[in-house]
């Protein structure tokens, strides 16, 4: 079915609260999904893949700080979706960059990582240059680099595969964020490794996608929509005779 941006954001917000998110997290998560979908970056598909995990997560568990100094923070997200509780980790990096000019933040053990792009857009609008980097453990290995220029609402994105990489036993389930107050950190395709450019999306590409989504609406499959609606319905209070009078409407409108 076709849905509007506001509709997707609205149902997402209610569904996430229905799942147990705090209000602020629900607002952010819904915005991340809708933002990604509107820009052609697969927000709905990512949510569909992650919804089963989200339902099983403990939403009261926040990322914990593993290490920090003035410029560098490492947080453990406890294998949770980035939708649930990662925004404060990102905000910590933002606060450090504001204070020190540049910060590096690593969020370990998280999934649904692609959706973080929707939140980083907020930081860029606040005037921060942001680069996010992570690897996906596909075969071949892929790297994704997202770069927001300060003040720009959309990023440039590079996704490429690496044919030859050294052995690495670390699991690829983290994100590295670099933020700088005053210098651009845009992705640039240079590497000593052999790489294949799988995808490169410019700001213009993403803005075109958004304009099209606003005109044509966005596709959401019926099953996901039904699931979100059921989750949102958890916020509704069963009607009783007493509650019907709680709306305060008149008794007859046939006058």
């Amino acid at each position: 079915m076709k849905v509007s941006f506001n509709e997707l954001q609205g149902i997402g917000r209610k569904a996430f609260i229905g799942i147990g998110f705090a209000e602020g997290d629900a607002i952010d998560a819904a915005e991340m999904v809708a933002w990604m979908e509107a820009h052609g970056l697969g927000g709905v598909e990512a949510l569909k893949k992650g919804l089963r995990f989200l339902l099983a997560e403990d939403h009261s568990e926040s990322p914990t700080l593993v290490y920090q100094d003035e410029d560098f923070s490492v947080l453990d997200a406890h294998n949770h979706s980035i939708l649930g509780n990662a925004s404060l980790a990102v905000e910590l990096g933002y606060a450090r960059a504001r204070g020190r000019g540049l910060s590096v933040t690593k969020i370990r053990h998280c999934h649904n990582r692609i959706l973080i792009i929707g939140y980083l857009s907020r930081l860029a609008r606040r005037g921060m240059n942001v680069t996010a980097f992570w690897r996906n453990a596909h075969d071949p290995l892929t790297e994704l680099v997202v770069g927001f220029k300060a003040g720009h609402p959309v990023p440039e994105i590079c996704l490429y595969s690496l044919e030859n990489t050294p052995d690495d036993t670390e699991k690829n389930d983290g994100i590295t964020l670099i933020m700088a107050n005053h210098v651009d950190l845009l992705p640039s395709l240079r590497s000593e490794y052999e790489l294949t450019n799988l995808m490169r999306q410019t700001e213009e590409d993403l803005e075109r996608q958004r304009d099209r989504a606003l005109v044509e609406g966005m596709d959401v499959d019926d099953e996901l929509w039904h699931n979100l609606k059921s989750l949102a319905d958890r916020l509704l209070v069963e009607a009783t005779d007493a509650s019907r009078s709680g709306a305060g409407a008149g008794t007859s409108d046939n006058d």
């Binding site: 509709e7 319905d233 509650s243 709680g246």
Partner: protein, 576 residues
């Protein structure tokens, strides 16, 4: 973009604790900055034209009518579906499933395929899937008594009695007017670069105005069908005096609370306009102009009929106050401090409704600069965190900018008497008594005051442990406070976004919230059906489509004449 008002030196704005008091907000009136007035000015200034593209109504007035709107920039169509409705299905509540008319405003042409899709979905409203080229989706029910009286009179070759419209000022009342992506229609973001409808709610207001036109055409059609030989058209003065009703309830409240930045813009624009007007040096002509406006408003309120005892008392108090204001103004010469003297005097002598009426009418006197702020009524809405801020600064901001919220007492049951929730019945917003009714664990978080109070308490404890801690550190310890904190940080920079009331409090009157929003829309004739349900009239007195012509805004005198329709009074028909 800077407007001429920005260039005015040091406007003396009223303090937020006065302006954002809920009882005062609940005393506001439609003003020249209200969305109805603003839209009509725009239509007249730009010579918008509406033609009937299709008029397929049967002898009972049921069928399809399509109107074509041409603006200088685009083409739109209004599509109205009219059907028979059994009386037992007629309800103004959101839980209704059928209506007398359903309608939509469409961007661009209405091809056969689109019309077919609309015919299958628009009459279903929320239960349908709407097309993304629809800008507005709405429905309305008949005022049965007025409708029958109007058709009977016109079919009999007579004009309906104007007193009927004074009592109930419309043939149809809308029960919801949806925009911004609801049920698949276009997002508001799509209109943000469209000069026709980029102001808040302007597309919705146009759809309502179009329904008014339809209502006239429909009763004339029914009268002609009933009595082709004798039927007459509706007198132009009555067409003007005819508005469109709106029936609304608690659904207004979540919008006001969930859009604080927009509310800030609406109130800020109005307050700047008022501050500018107060600053002008009156002369005898402006004093007499204000007197004339007061006399018309007096008649409007004296004529206004409502069965609600409290609103009747308020209307009567307003009339008494206006009499006193007129007396004061007639005996006071136009000195340079006249306006401030008047407002100072009124504060001690007049009801809140009358005080706000004077403010509303003062704004009428200086249209040239005041109208320029109407392009600032919208804004980008995003609440932003400032994670680097010291937690101590946040606490200080709460104490200085949100002192009203700290009056909440969590130990006092009266302070948490109500809870707001959505019912499983079509998500209708309702109000429940916390101690008596189930569902408070699912309440909507609309009571901002108690939430700020809670944040303040947690900050206090956090600062004991971490006196130099930052906001993000506070939030990592209390992540559920994120939304409240970014709201505080964002809104602390503005004076007027937050309604300064505890929406849980036993003494809180939901009607004030409804009236706040409706006054910005441009509603009049407040007719409460309970303490949380109200019928109002919109566009009563507004010029008709056929009158909207000002030679593209160059005929200033005509524009001013077309714009002068606030506080309409019962017309005297010259039937000779």
């Amino acid at each position: 973009m800077a407007t001429p008002l920005d260039a005015q030196p040091e406007l003396q704005l009223r303090p937020a604790n006065q302006v954002m008091n809920l009882v005062r907000l609940g005393s506001l009136h439609a003003s020249r900055l209200s969305f109805c007035r603003s839209l009509v000015r725009q239509m007249a200034r730009e010579d918008w034209t509406v033609t009937t593209a299709r008029f397929d109504l049967d002898v009972d007035g049921h069928g399809v009518v399509i109107y074509r709107l041409n603006t200088p920039h685009h083409i739109y169509h209004g599509v109205v579906f009219s059907q028979h409705l059994d009386p037992e299905r007629r309800s103004d509540r959101v839980i209704a499933e059928a209506w007398d008319v359903t309608f939509a405003l469409v961007e661009g042409e209405v091809e056969d395929s689109l019309l077919e899709q609309m015919a299958a979905n628009v009459p279903l409203q929320e239960a349908g899937r709407q097309h993304p080229r629809l800008l507005v989706l709405s429905r309305a029910n008949k005022s049965l008594r007025n409708f029958a009286h109007f058709v009977d009179a016109l079919a009999d070759g007579k004009q309906p009695d104007p007193a009927w419209l004074t009592k109930v000022g419309y043939l149809y009342r809308t029960t919801a007017v949806y925009g911004n992506g609801k049920f698949g229609i276009a997002d508001y973001a799509r209109l943000q670069n469209n000069p026709d409808f980029n102001r808040p709610f302007s597309a919705q207001m146009f759809a309502v105005y179009l329904l008014r036109h339809f209502s006239v055409q429909q009763v004339e059609h029914l009268a002609r069908n009933r009595s082709p030989e004798r039927a007459v058209g509706l007198h132009p003065a009555l067409q003007r005096y005819l508005g469109i009703g709106n029936s609304t309830g608690l659904g207004m409240a979540p919008f006001l609370i969930n859009h604080p930045q927009l509310i800030q813009q609406w109130v800020y624009c109005r307050e700047r306009a008022l501050a500018y007007a107060r600053q002008q040096v009156p002369d005898d002509a402006s004093r007499r102009e204000l007197l004339a406006l007061l006399k018309r408003a007096r008649q409007h309120f004296a004529e206004t009929v409502t069965e609600d005892a409290e609103q009747t008392r308020r209307n009567e108090a307003t009339v008494v106050s206006i009499d006193a204001v007129i007396g004061w103004l007639e005996r006071t010469p136009a000195t340079s401090t006249l306006w401030n003297d008047l407002l100072g005097w009124a504060e001690g002598q007049c009801s809140l409704e009358a005080q706000e009426l004077i403010n509303t009418l003062l704004i009428e006197l200086y249209p040239e600069l005041i109208d320029s702020v109407e392009d600032e009524l919208g804004c980008e809405e995003i609440l932003e965190l400032q994670p680097e801020m010291r937690a101590a600064t946040l606490k200080q901001d709460i104490e200085t900018r949100f002192a009203w919220a700290l009056e909440y007492d969590p130990k006092n049951p009266d302070h948490q008497h109500w809870f707001w929730y959505r019912s499983a019945e079509k998500e209708e917003p309702r109000l429940g008594v916390r101690a008596l009714e189930p569902g408070s664990e699912k309440e909507m978080p609309l009571a901002i005051g108690p939430r700020i109070h809670r944040t303040h308490q947690l900050l206090d404890a956090f600062l004991d442990r971490s006196p130099r801690g930052s906001v993000v550190e506070f939030l990592m310890a209390h992540p559920r406070q994120k939304e409240c904190v970014r709201r505080i940080q964002t809104m602390a920079a503005t004076p007027y976004g937050e309604i300064q009331a505890n929406l849980w409090h036993r003494d809180m009157k939901p009607m004030h919230l409804l009236r706040t929003k409706l006054s910005f829309f441009g509603a009049s004739r407040f007719d409460p059906k309970s303490d949380r349900w109200v019928r109002v009239t919109m566009f009563q007195g507004a010029p008709l489509f056929c009158e909207l012509f000002s030679d593209h805004g160059t005929d200033k005198a005509r524009l001013a004449e077309l714009d002068d329709w606030s506080f309409p009074v019962e017309p005297e028909l010259n039937l000779s």
